[in-house]
């Protein structure tokens, strides 16, 4: 009985994974002896004469010249007379043939490195079930991982977190200290030197807060006032630092226009008639929604100035300037304001103001507004040209809704109007962009039903 010996694509070097048979020097039926040159193989570096290691008769050529096959692929079979000669490649080395089937029912001796064995054990993967994509059917680390986390990209590429919105720069130690001293980083001023929050600033904020918390349990009115004053001072210091830096670094330019509010006000009146008191809308909701939509369409004003260049923000987090009882100001953000309905925006606004005034704002709301709106019209001011909050590049201002003489079609009438203003960073944008932005808001306010 003649046994069949496999003649496989040999490995001809440390970095060779595949080879191309350039030429066969034998054909089926030829006798071959151990050491005869039977083929010429191209290894991408050179053409190499390849010898066979068994003596016998060429049975079948399986791979035609010109085809690139991985090392270990069976190229031809050789009939070996009598028992498999001692020189025949013992089946124990069967592991080297590429066909996984041969490997599975060989001596079950899986070809993979100890590192892969350790990974498999750690990930609870049974190696026998793994199809080895390595040379000669060798199981590689990727094969095990792929089985353990199907679907995930096989390479361990960590998901790149979405670009964080503009973050206030806080040193790691300051962040840790803030956690330990239960200090809300929003309340901490930034260092005047580099605009970042260091331990010193956190400690100052802590002391300010501490004097309040350490007051007597039933604080006499006076004591509570002093505590508030202390917190007030820290708040004031934060605002002072921010405003001073804004004026120092940001070349502001200012634009203003007057918007006819009649369409908006009558739409509001009709809507509020159908709504319960709790859901009733205020003009600010429309103003915010119009501004958010305009920011989406004029992205140059929505983002931050960082390392001497403008970084646009993918989302519109509208900062709302909220005055706190007894002085002080915060401008937390309504996230993705452009995507909210006017009603949801109204609810978000009420919630934000309530929490701002009770000091329960979230860190994220504080740290990432991309454009801020101030609505001082509430306090009866006709128009406001605000100071931009670094690192943002613009500030929108709405004055009081006021009846003004208004010419329509040549005839003089009285219309409710509002003075809409823009303060903008001339490093990031020019007046042209700012004007287009205000014009867009005006246009949107004329069709409240579409907001």
């Amino acid at each position: 009985m003649a046994a069949l010996s496999e003649f496989t694509m040999p490995s001809l070097g440390a970095d060779m994974d595949a080879g191309i048979v350039l030429e066969w020097l034998v054909k089926p039926g030829d006798a071959v002896h151990r050491g005869d040159i039977v083929a010429v193989v191209d290894t991408a570096k050179a053409a190499v004469d390849v010898e066979c290691f068994t003596s016998g008769t060429v049975q079948e050529i399986l791979v035609d010249p010109g085809r690139s096959v991985p090392v270990g692929t069976v190229l031809a079979t050789i009939a070996v007379p009598g028992e498999a000669g001692p020189a025949a490649v013992p089946t124990a080395l069967g592991g080297t043939t590429a066909s996984a089937q041969a490997r599975a029912d060989g001596d079950g001796h899986l070809v993979c490195s100890p590192l892969v064995r350790r990974d498999a054990a750690r990930l609870g993967v049974d190696l026998v079930t793994v199809h080895g994509t390595g040379v000669g059917g060798r199981i590689r680390r990727e094969d095990v991982e792929h089985l353990a986390h199907p679907g995930q990209a096989s390479g361990r590429v960590p998901e790149v977190p979405a670009a964080p919105a503009a973050r206030r720069r806080v040193s790691p130690y300051a962040r840790r200290l803030a956690r330990e001293l239960q200090v809300d980083l929003a309340g901490a001023a930034a260092s005047a030197v580099d605009g970042a929050v260091h331990a010193a600033q956190v400690r100052a904020a802590a002391e300010a807060a501490a004097t309040v918390t350490s007051a007597a349990p039933a604080p006499a009115a006076g004591a509570r006032e002093i505590g508030a004053a202390q917190r007030q001072a820290a708040m004031r210091a934060t605002i002072a630092g921010l405003m001073a830096r804004s004026k120092r670094e940001i070349p502001h330019y200012y634009l203003s226009t007057t918007v006819d509010m009649s369409a908006a006000m009558s739409w509001l009146r009709d809507r509020n008639r159908e709504l319960t008191v709790a859901d009733r809308l205020v003009p600010a909701a429309l103003m915010l929604k119009a501004t958010a939509l305009a920011a989406r369409r004029v992205p140059q004003l929505n983002g931050s100035w960082r390392d001497d260049r403008f970084v646009a923000s993918p989302a519109v987090h509208l900062g709302v300037a909220i005055s706190l009882r007894g002085g002080g100001l915060v401008a937390p953000a309504i996230h993705d304001a452009d995507a909210l309905s006017v009603h949801d925006l109204m609810a978000a606004l009420k919630d934000l103001v309530a929490r701002a005034r009770t000091g329960r704002l979230r860190g994220s709301e504080m740290s990432d507004p991309t454009l801020t709106v101030t609505n001082l019209g509430e306090q009866g001011v006709e128009s406001v040209f605000g100071v931009i909050y670094p690192p943002q590049v613009a500030l929108v201002g709405f004055g009081k809704v006021l009846d003004r003489p208004w010419a329509v079609g040549g005839l003089l009438g009285v219309r409710p109007t509002v003075c809409l203003t823009l303060s903008a960073d001339h490093r990031a944008t020019d007046g042209f962009t700012g004007a287009r932005f205000l014009d867009l808001i005006d246009h949107l306010m004329q069709r409240p039903e579409e907001l």
Binding site: N272, R280, S323, K350, Q379
Partner: protein, 86 residues
């Protein structure tokens, strides 16, 4: 739908309570009856809506935007609440 009108004292208490929910440390005792509530207590439009909402809930009265004019001062509010409503 008529609602039974409030006595003047009840109306005054309702206004005071509605206001204190919005402005916790509001001092109503010394607040002159004829002063503009929004200016006195620095109520912005959101505060005002919340004040109106509290009043409506407390008194069960329906208060529309058109009624805002008759709630400008403490005096007006008490008058409005103690008159039989629609």
């Amino acid at each position: 739908m008529t609602t039974q009108s409030l006595t003047r004292e009840a109306a005054h208490a309702a206004v005071a309570d509605a206001l204190r929910r919005v402005v916790p440390d509001a001092d109503l005792e010394s607040c002159p009856p004829d002063v503009n509530l929004r200016e006195e207590f620095e109520l912005d439009s959101l505060d005002w809506v919340e004040f109106v909402e509290n009043l409506a809930k407390r008194t069960g009265r329906r208060i529309d935007e058109d009624d805002y004019a008759s709630l400008e001062t403490l005096q007006d509010s008490v008058d409005f609440l103690s008159r039989p409503g629609r």
